[in-house]
Symmetry: C2
Subunit: 229 residues, 2 copies
Amino acid sequence: MKLEVIKSHLQGVSLFKELSEEEIQPIVDISLLRTYPARSFVFMQGDPLDRVFFIHSGKVKINKTDLSGKEQIVSILQDGDMFPHAGFFRKGNFPAHAEILETAELIVIPVGEFEKILLKYPELCIKMFKVLGEKIVDLQNRLEEKILRDTYEQIVMLLLRLCKSNGVRINDQYKLTAHFTNRQLANMIGTSRETMNRTINRLRNKELIDTDEEGYFLISSEKLEDEII
Amino acid sequence: MKLEVIKSHLQGVSLFKELSEEEIQPIVDISLLRTYPARSFVFMQGDPLDRVFFIHSGKVKINKTDLSGKEQIVSILQDGDMFPHAGFFRKGNFPAHAEILETAELIVIPVGEFEKILLKYPELCIKMFKVLGEKIVDLQNRLEEKILRDTYEQIVMLLLRLCKSNGVRINDQYKLTAHFTNRQLANMIGTSRETMNRTINRLRNKELIDTDEEGYFLISSEKLEDEII
DNA sequence: TTTACGTAGTGATATACATCACGTCTCACC
DNA sequence: GGTGAGACGTGATGTATATCACTACGTAAA
């Protein structure tokens, strides 16, 4: 049954983990499960913010573009992640584009309903404060990186961040669970694809990163960390 | 009486505005008012995060430094502002230094108490979500700026942001309510003091900014906005 | 009064990185 | 099987801006 499917999917979302049966039911009731095909847009920057999304499967790219077409990739999200992070409790607009990279199943909740539920369960509020707090710390770190580090170090740190957000640990390495082109990686930190290419190959030669048969990155995070002191 | 003073001070903090008498009283009860002299540190990066601060008067600089001593100024906070923004509901550490620039009166609340109060008043939770949401949007914008814009535009945008966070509107201009040296401004966006100096003077010649008798910046925000299209 | 230190201001130089301009390879599609 | 679109890869060149090196001013301390 559809609702059962949604419930099991919701239990995989980090924000809702540890909720009891009774606590999760009202959330299930207001949830919608929708499949988005690759290359489609969930929303565009500036659209009225009326829904919140939780990823059950697939990959979603959050990005911004300027007039000249230059792109900034805010993040590549996957199962368990929520978006957007800001704009609750005031009629706002989505602050970035959300584009599907790999066919995705998203749980969709009207933002008004989500807010009501949030206030009803203190446990959920705490979780939410934690999630937002982590987001703030992450953004502050990225800004610090961009300001204090040179491009080589920024790339090393980007790879380490991707291990956490998009990787699984295998022995002493992390394997990234999504494909990334040089251009995408470059657009995450605001460098050129040529520089990204050269640096990635430099790291490959140093045997700090590698690629598996399917083209996924294998990252030796401990060794990489030595590069940034 | 001391508690009365604290209460009136708390009412000036944006997070607590619009709270009723009964709602604000328990917050007053757990609050401490403390004066910090200029140049002192409220806390250092890495200290255990056990308190939350609200500024009643004075100026506080939030910054990070790397090994070589290079500084990133996260923000210059003043009356009505809260810090830190992250780290609630988990025993964490302060993510940056907080240094007093101008003698400051701070309201100090133990973080555990603050969390309890937060959960008791849904109205406060909503406010808090808004504050954190705005912080996230602000950080994302700054990161985008740093990635997509050249230094000239970053400086223009920095000045516009300072109008909002540290300015008061006077006719068609904003007057900044704190002194900023070229070096401080440079460290906010990660440029050199020389470049900041040259750019500021360029903007002065274009008559987009000016300085009043006391050395405070006067900023013609409408004209400035034309510089970034 | 002198010394010391922080800031503003400004030319000269160095350099990290973007940009340009190619070639090659793969894959999708008519 | 050819053609076009993306991707990777890599040298050559250009440039924004960091860095260096200095003068000058103001203020605080000795």
